[in-house]
Symmetry: D2
Subunit: 267 residues, 4 copies
């Protein structure tokens, strides 16, 4: 068996208060595509607002635009998603630059949160001598797990991979940013993956992992070790968290509640 | 007449020295598309190297991948390009977020060189009270022209828009980055445009401008005022200079000569 | 009359909780010297702890070292202080570098929070053309008042003058840091002044202003405009907030209460 | 024998070109004090300029102020200096905060180039578990020697310890800054020491080391390993390079030559 098949029930509520009208760009729909199948879903927006969903032409993730009036805005998204994820290939190789598919090259470039150019010297010092391959990506994850503290409140919306490297603390997003930044600096294509994950201890929230392109496909990794890569229902993948924020708000709005719950469905 | 029609002859030479094999990603082909027509072109790579060109599926710019052996690498690109550029619309309006086409939303996000999130407070202080529309984009250009010195050697490959805002000096790329960062902070979609331009005084080099989306289309602006937006033969447009560098090198290589010349063809 | 004479009663309580022993360096004693006379004072530390006070040999400010055991630590400082402050000289001149006293030169240098080297280009653009003298220092204060929002929560213990310049928001310390940074960039010696001030609206807290050396003496300025420079009972002056923090803690301790109250004593 | 006694001959030339009058603050005099005795010295300034030397009241280093007219400015400093340096104490201990002399506390604070607050988490991860004492300071030096490349041109006048930590490259000043930053983060008082040193391979230049306070005295360390701490004729010690630059220039001046030569005098 090379696949892990699981089904998840998602129940996600978002509540906002708006002193004035505001535009929202949400990414909360489970990704329909890659190794995921959305079997059923519903989205309720209260009050009714001008909205539409568009599909990213490359990956297939769905983005929801909402034009909200002043007052409150509530979203309730529910879905049942089948995930059939390939088991990680423990012998996956790194690819020489020349062998990478054209469309993957942007995943080697630095982005707002992931300054792989600035961190390249450190990445080479730390991981440059290691044998190429998935084991090197795992060494990156191990280093981060040993050297970065998971601590809520240590990072903000402007914290970048360099900041995380220096302050040695962050949350899931920061862990993933630093990991994928190291990978890019090592010429391994890497991108952020965000979605719904099942947690035991922490309060439910969206989760972020990263994907590295090794062995001819994208492999998922969770450097926080809080969940298993098989237990992430992806919403989106992107260059970094600016691409795949669950909510980008144009205007003033305060978040009252973020409650994304996930349950595994028993077979 | 609402079009300015011009024809340009491009003659571009790039020479590198490579102590070891290296992979290159070049963006030197004139953009075939938008308001440009490549009437003739040739590319000579010496010595012969494994190469291929791929076309960006969204914009249509061409990217050249070259796998070079140790020694020297020379490129000689020549082209005749017809540019039929719409005259700038002096009454172009800004669009409310809700009216922006889906595919333009990424042009509002901060990127590696363009921290529109960090510079938003300054952008709002400086330009937030101005009447929306193309006149506000021009005010951004004017402010930069008055407050930023054009000075070669003041910026490096890691200089961002925030750095330019603080150090008040830079080159064409820095001017364009700061301008487009301000625009994004004002919720005006903006992107970098790079290409060939005709200069009188400075030594020939690639040039960078920026585009802002106003009045339902992308308008070109040159905040350095060194050239006219009608005189740019675009190679590519992208989020910032990481996307559209004329040469991204994976490996060690030293540049011996960069010589992009442009001549207007007399009617 | 060239002096404003006032008397202030200070009542300051600080409470900490310590999970383990910790060393404290406090600066809470009213400055005895310059234009201030401490007429009476008392300091109560609970529980009794190993402590001693030393006097800075240059300025005369007092630093209190406390070696606290685990548990709680409370300080209660009370003082009556006479302030006889020279009225601001509206015709105070700037001094050429060559005329500055030797011991003032360090007040021209950049420090941890005040990167006058990085902000020099912006300072010269904004204020370089203005007539030298105290009016230029006031122009710096005005610019900050117009362009920086006073907003609690916008800055942290690592926020520098450059950050404040970019984010255009901060608290009293940030306002003073940015102002003195601009002054240093203009070759006007400047330093931070912290102390007790009487507020009407905000909750009582320590206050920060800055001093610029013009007209042959140090003049006090409050770029927040929340108080008058005549109403500050200085605790200390220093290069920036790292020098004159009211509490520097070596070890883990959480602050439970900071309550510095000041009352003017009626004549 | 606990002392290493050596005599050095210094011959230092500095040449500048000034488009306009400028003020200079030089620190080129060998430190008269600590473990050094200046046996003979001469200073020639051409052309004659308004000048004076003042002595730092705390350390005793000498600062030379020169008011230069437009044209050229040349300094020629020569000295014979006897250095009687205590041999390093291999069992020197770290001191608890509470036992540090009052006047050393500022050497624990972050400064412009040495953000010991930002780098504290990394310092604790890397060195926090090591046995306190001089061996830990040596471990800091070793780590830097292994992880930072000595490479001229990698740093500028605004490069800080954090930058060096990230970019993993620098020159002697950067090595010393990073080392002393780590020490401060570990609560070991540390400061920069600059002076004349004898080099074999590199072109002669001023040299920077750092001092850490262990075993009840300041010990010198050279994390570049290019010279021996016994071979440094100190000019000055200070918080960081802003304090002890060999030349601080107020005005425009271009350096034509910096030539500080040192020879050991045979016994």
């Amino acid at each position: 068996m090379t696949l892990r098949r699981q089904t998840f029930d998602i129940d996600c509520r978002l509540d906002y208060e708006l002193p004035a009208p505001a535009d929202f760009l949400f990414q909360i729909h489970a990704l329909q595509g890659l190794d995921q199948t959305v079997q059923a879903e519903s989205l309720q927006i209260t009050p009714t607002a001008r909205q539409h969903v568009f599909v990213d032409p490359v990956i297939g993730q769905r983005l929801l635009r909402v034009q909200a009036v002043a007052g409150t805005l509530s979203l309730h998204y529910r879905a049942r998603v089948r995930v059939e994820r390939l088991l990680r290939n423990p012998r996956a190789v790194e690819h020489p630059i020349a062998d990478l598919p054209d469309e993957l090259l942007p995943n080697l470039m630095p982005t707002r949160y992931c300054e792989s150019d600035l961190l390249a010297p450190a990445a080479l010092k730390l991981f440059g001598q290691l044998k190429p391959g998935i084991s090197r990506v795992l060494a990156v994850c191990d280093w981060i797990h040993r050297n970065v503290e998971y601590r809520i409140g240590t990072s903000t919306s402007t914290t970048t991979a360099r900041d995380v490297f220096v302050q040695r603390a962050g949350v899931c997003r920061d862990f993933a940013h630093l990991a994928l930044t190291f990978c890019r600096a090592l010429n391994i294509p890497a991108r952020l993956a965000v979605g719904y994950a099942r947690f035991d201890t922490p309060p439910p929230d969206f989760h972020a992992m990263f994907e590295a392109y090794v062995g001819g496909r994208w492999e998922l990794f969770d450097p926080t070790r809080m969940t298993s890569p098989y237990d992430l229902v992806r919403i989106a993948v992107g260059h970094d968290a600016k691409d795949v924020a669950f909510a980008t708000i144009f205007g003033a709005a305060s978040s009252k509640q973020i409650l994304p719950c996930v349950e595994k469905v028993r077979a």
